[in-house]
Symmetry: C2
Subunit: 290 residues, 2 copies
């Protein structure tokens, strides 16, 4: 477990350097919004999604620089979704990771614009790389595929769609199937974007891409249910609909194991068998205690 | 003037059909957000930006279907910016074009997500077209250039940057140069995105692309100052910083004429001289009385 944490910390450092580069403010009039965007981007996040992107990429290719714009872009999308989620009109959270949320520090208006700015910057970053950093037409085409995957997983058919289900979800109108759909969209979607983008840009076969797409789905689902278990043990948010609204702790823990095992089985189907890191990452995420 | 209005109405119809197609809800769980996005998209907008995209495109190419995903995408971006602008934390407007604003009808949370959804859908729509509708690698490359231009004009260096300046602008910290920068970013940027995308996808030379980029800047600036003049004559919003905070009506009207003339001069420099529609459109926009 210590070794994987060291590897993760190395990866986080590389991702943070990339994020720093892509959010470098060039003009005075943008200073405020860059400060606000960076406040939330560099707020002690675990960089799970970019780590998944980097590590799936590394199953197929060594040149890690190639995945960084996309890994960073997915983290920008994750961060914008948190800024908007925390707003008073949404979850109304004043703290995240022990620090005041974006709108508490910068005000609601700038928080809204900073979220918009990060979503937009995510696409700018990827498109710029596709346009100016592709060594061949094949490479450019792979990047176009990757960016389109990100856009779908982030959008109304993906993460945003899941947030809408979350917003209107209640015991009256939601069953366990709808909850799973919500988790798939709200949480697993960006995990899937990360894994698929890593695979596509690494040059994986279509078969391996689809295996990793499914792997990330089960990783995302077990991650989210584990989150519910930890929340329930620590501080029951009764108003919030979670896996534990439908199942007890025992069944929930069993479900985490079932999904984790599915994720492991999928990794074993890959043409590249060097999946040690992804398996340990999966273990770390779903058996974490914080 | 009647003829140009007929042409505009024909164009609006084509753009509305495209927008309708791209916002076709496929799954039950997305029904609410699609309803909300469409409420604001189909709210009697004049479709200026997509019309500019279509008409600059038509200077160089006839196959209008090719520009529609991009024209529609720019209108989605314009619409999302209005939804977020109207929020209580921003301009706090309850009505737009005589109808209740998005958050009044759907609530603030869904209004925020609908804005996010439209911005994301804008990129999805363009990327899908690039990936699946390009007849050659050259066409695909032109589309990549176009999408990147949209992302820059919509982002923190463009429209969002202008909104931030607007947010924190006051008489104490803003001079007339800063106001012009704000107008360039907040209003002219999407006009420029439209004109540049039309030119690129139409197959214009780099020289013509740059001429149309500058044309749209002056069109946007004169449009915005004319807006200020109409606002001032109708209902002075004293708290809001406008061109009339620095200049009187007479000078403001002169500035509209100066910028309009610059726009006309630029059109005369184009290799294609068939600029009658764009000139009449410019006249219509800057000499409008509503």
């Amino acid at each position: 477990m210590e070794i994987i944490k060291d590897i993760m910390n190395d990866t986080i450092k590389i991702i943070d350097e990339a994020l720093d580069k892509y959010t470098n403010c060039r003009n005075k009039y943008q200073q405020t919004i860059f400060e606000s965007m960076r406040y939330s981007l560099f707020n002690g996040g675990k960089r799970l999604r970019p780590t998944i992107a980097v590590k799936t990429f590394e199953l197929f290719s060594d040149d890690i620089q190639k995945i960084l714009p996309y890994a960073a872009a997915i983290e920008m999308i994750h961060t914008y979704s948190l800024i908007h989620d925390d707003l008073p009109a949404m979850d109304d959270d004043n703290f995240r990771r022990g620090k005041p949320t974006n709108h508490v520090v910068y005000g609601e208006a700038l928080a809204i614009l900073s979220g918009d700015g990060l979503l937009n910057l995510s696409f700018e970053t990827m498109l710029k790389d596709m346009l100016y950093n592709s060594e061949s037409q094949e490479s450019s085409h792979m990047k176009a595929r990757a960016i389109y995957e990100v856009s779908k997983y982030a959008g109304v058919e993906g993460m945003i769609g899941g947030q809408v289900v979350d917003l209107f979800g209640s015991h009256e109108n939601m069953d366990s199937q709808t909850l799973e759909l919500m988790y798939e969209k709200k949480t697993a979607a960006l995990f899937q974007a990360a894994a698929v983008v890593g695979a596509i840009l690494g040059g994986a076969s279509d078969e391996d891409i689809e295996i990793l797409r499914e792997f990330a789905l089960y990783l995302g689902l077990s991650f989210q249910i584990q989150d519910d278990i930890l929340d329930a043990e620590e501080d029951a948010k009764i108003h919030k609909l979670t896996h534990l609204s439908f199942y007890d702790i025992k069944k929930s823990k069993e479900d985490v194991d079932i999904y984790t095992n599915k994720a492991f089985e999928l990794l074993d189907k890959l043409s590249n068998k060097d999946t040690k890191f992804l398996k340990e990452l999966t273990n770390l995420l779903v058996h974490r205690e914080i």
